[in-house]
Symmetry: C2
Subunit: 298 residues, 2 copies
Amino acid sequence: MDVTVVGSVALDTVETPLGKNEEGLGGAATFFSLAASNYVPVHLVAVVGEDFPAEHVELLKSKGVNLDGLETLPGNTFRWAGRYHDDMNMRDTLDTQLNVFEQFHPKLPEAAQKSRYLFLANIHPALQLEVLEQSKASFKGLDTMNLWIDSALDDLKKVLSNVDALIINDSEVMELTGERNLLKGARAIEAMGPKTVVIKKGEHGCLLVQGKNVFVTPAFVLPEVVDPTGAGDSFAGGFMGHIAQQDATDFNTLKQAVVHGTAVASFTCEKFGPDRVAEIDPNDIANRFRAFRDLVAF
Amino acid sequence: MDVTVVGSVALDTVETPLGKNEEGLGGAATFFSLAASNYVPVHLVAVVGEDFPAEHVELLKSKGVNLDGLETLPGNTFRWAGRYHDDMNMRDTLDTQLNVFEQFHPKLPEAAQKSRYLFLANIHPALQLEVLEQSKASFKGLDTMNLWIDSALDDLKKVLSNVDALIINDSEVMELTGERNLLKGARAIEAMGPKTVVIKKGEHGCLLVQGKNVFVTPAFVLPEVVDPTGAGDSFAGGFMGHIAQQDATDFNTLKQAVVHGTAVASFTCEKFGPDRVAEIDPNDIANRFRAFRDLVAF
C-alpha cells in the first residue's frame, strides 16, 4: 500500500554540541519520506523554491520517493536554523524563513489522493484541512506543534476530528489537553477524535494508547547522538510505513509500528540531518529491530 | 538470603499537586525496607530520635523488618520537607533538619554484618565507608546524591571502588562523570569500581549496564501519581530484594530485578509517603510484574 505525506521540505542549519550542518536537506516531509520509503512507495507533497539543490531531488528519487506532488515556486526554499543545548532534549530556534511556504496550498496528484495511508506532517492546520478534502485515505495520521495549538486551535480541532492517529510530543500533550499525566492526556485527545494516540518522549521512548490498550517502550540506547533533528519525523515515517506495508491497524500491528519508528529514528540521530536515515535499507532496520528486542527483553 | 540496609529513617513533610502529608514516615532506608521485606528478611540499620512515633516502629515490625540495628538517640528524628512542582519530576527541598543524624555512626548487629546482600542507601560516604568495614556482604549496592558528589567526592570514590552495583539518578550520572550520554556515563562509573550500574530515569524508567550487557525499560504507566517520594528507594528495595531472594547476580536476574524494582516503585507513587508500599504483598507485586510485561510486550 502507498503512503502520502504532506509537509515541509526545508534547508536546515543545525548546530549541536558535536558540530554544525549548514543548509542541509531538512523538513518533516523529507525525513518522513526517507524513513517510510524503506517500507512502501511514498508520495511526497510539498513545496520548494527555485534555489532547491538538484542533488536533494536526486536523493529522494533514488529512494523511490514519488515527487509528482513536489511543487517548485518562484523564490527561496523554506529555511530553519536551530541550536541544540548540551542537553540535546532542548533546542532554540535561531531563524525561520517561510519563503515559498507562505504561498503553499497542497495539491495532491491523483495517485497521492488515492493513497490508502496519509500522513499530515506538521504544517498549519488550515492547510491540513485542505489536504483532508482531497484525500481518499482510510487511515490518516497527524502531527502538529505548539505554535498551532496556541494560534490555530479551532482549525486544529477540526483536523483532529477527522484523523485516525495523532503522533505528538509529550510536552505538546500538556499544551493541547492541560493534562500532565500522559495517560489522561491521551484520553483527552481520544475525545477530540483520533482513536490512536502516539506520544513521543524523545530519548525516553514512546507511549501508544488506543482505547483500553496501552503500550510503552523506551528509545534505542545510543552511545552517541550527533543530531536529533528529524528523529520524530523519521519515527512517524517508520510507524506509518510499517502500517501501510502490513495494511493493518490492529493494536499488535501498531505496537510493532512503534518499534519500527523507534528503530528508524535511532538511525537518524547518528549523523547530521538525513545523512544516516538516507543510507539505511530494510535489512538495517530489521537488524536494529532485533537489537532493540534484545535490549528490552527480560 | 537476608539483606541489610543502612540509611535514613525520617519524618517527611511533602506537598504535591494532589495534597500534603505532614510529618509522615519517610527516609530512604524506610522505603527500601518496606519494599525489600516482600522478598527476604531485612535488617534495618538507622537512627531515630526520642520523638519517633511508636506506630512507625510497629509498622516496620509488622512487615518483618529486623530493627535490632535501629538506634534511638536523645533528640529529634531527622526531618525533611519538600514540595513537588506540577511537573512532578521536579521538587524543591524546603527544609532539612539533620537532628540525631548528626551524631549517627552506623553499628551493624552481628546478623546484619553477616548479610550476604548489603545496600548503602544515601548517606554521607564517610559513614558508608564505616559500614563497609563492618559488613561481610558478598554483593554490595550503593546509592548517593549530588550533595556528596559535590562535597565528599574523595570518600565517595573510595566507596565506589568497594561496591558491586551503583543505583543512581540520570542527573547524578552527569554530575559524577561529566557525561550526558547515559551509556558513556555508565562506562565511566564502571571504571570507578561498580561492575553493575543501574540508572534511574524516574517516570521514564531505567537503564541497566553491566559490561557489554545493556537493558533498558520504561516505568510503569500510572493514571495518577500522588507522591513520588521514596519511589527510587522502593525501586532499590525491589531490586536488591529480588537479587537476594534469587541469591544470584547474573544479568538475567539483574534484568528481572530491575522490573521488580519498577513494579514496587510504581505502587509507592500511588499514595502519600509509604502508605501504598506498606500495604502491598508479594502477590500484588507478581500481578504488577505481569501487568508490566503486558504493557511492554510487542
